[in-house]
Amino acid sequence: MSTTSKLPRLLRGAALVVGLAASGGWLATGAHLGWTQTSVVQLQRDEITGIDFPVRRAAFVAGVEVLAAGLLLAGGLGATALFLDRRRPAGA
């Protein structure tokens, strides 16, 4: 098998991995519809006053731009693979 025939397959595989990683990562971190968050708030209660107060902790919550960038990259890789497939001479 030649290098040119391996490349489209590699690109298709990469497109699949990137697309799944972007979608899976976005879903796994809560399918957040806004921009990416690098911290989240947890409410705790002060026992004496009964006040709920926010405690901010570092956390990565993927936003829609992460999903969009991942899907765009996957689409680009898939399109390149398709382009290379079509350019390949018949029987190569």
């Binding site: 921009w35 968050q37 911290s39 002060d46 004496i48 006053t49 006040i51 709920d52 107060f53 936003g63």
Partner: protein, 211 residues
């Protein structure tokens, strides 16, 4: 004991009693600078394309509150605008930047109580509509905010973890909404992503030391 000395002792006792009564009924000045970092404001904006939620914790101010006459409550609460934070660092920078809140030029968001109306009791809480002046980004507007007051006598020691510290706590809670265009915050711009209406929830506790 002669009649005159008895009369004099009685006078002293009455005077002391009256002083004690006056002291217990006197308005208390509650300091809302909170070393525990519990005092907070939470804000949310729900625009068609994006919901934004955030918090602010730099709260200070003083409120004078008399449990026997809550309608006479007065005071001022200050929020350090640079403590307003959302989950995305770039968005936090934009929020604090000169296009939005411009915290460098307008470091404080303040609410000054002018009068209380519709004061009523609900269990241990006192509810009231507080009329006052809210200043955001240098623009001051008259607003009416529904506030609940909870007076916690002799709870300061428990809160600071030192029973020797004597004093009361006053918890204030309020939820209300403002329009950002009223305060010159990018009026009419980006309303698809940054809602015009800002929902605010304030939960704060102040301390009045005794002795």
């Amino acid at each position: 004991m002669t009649t005159s000395s008895l009369r004099s002792s009685l006078s002293v006792a009455v005077a002391l009693g009256a002083t004690a009564l006056a002291a217990s009924a006197a308005p208390l000045a509650f300091d809302f600078k909170d070393p525990k970092g519990v005092n907070n404001v939470q804000f949310s904006l729900d625009a068609p394309l994006e919901s934004i939620t955030g918090t602010g914790t730099g709260i200070s101010g003083t409120v004078t509150f008399d449990p026997a006459a809550p309608a006479k409550t007065s005071g001022k609460i200050v929020l350090e605008a640079a403590t307003l934070t959302v989950g995305n660092p770039m968005m936090t920078d934009h929020l604090r930047g000169n296009n939005w809140l411009d915290v460098a030029q307008h470091p404080a968001i303040t609410f000054e109580a002018v009068s209380l109306a519709n004061v009523r009791n609900q269990g241990p809480q006192i509810l009231a509509d507080v009329k006052g002046k809210l200043t955001v980004k240098g623009v001051t507007k008259d607003v009416t905010v529904p506030v609940s007051f909870t007076h916690l006598p002799d709870k300061l020691g428990a809160r600071v973890g030192d029973p020797k510290v004597k004093g009361d706590l006053l918890v204030m809670r309020a939820s209300f909404a403002i329009n950002r265009s009223d305060y010159g915050i990018q009026p009419g711009k980006n309303t698809d992503k940054v809602a015009e209406t800002i929902q605010l929830t304030l939960s704060i506790a102040g301390a009045a030391k005794k002795g």
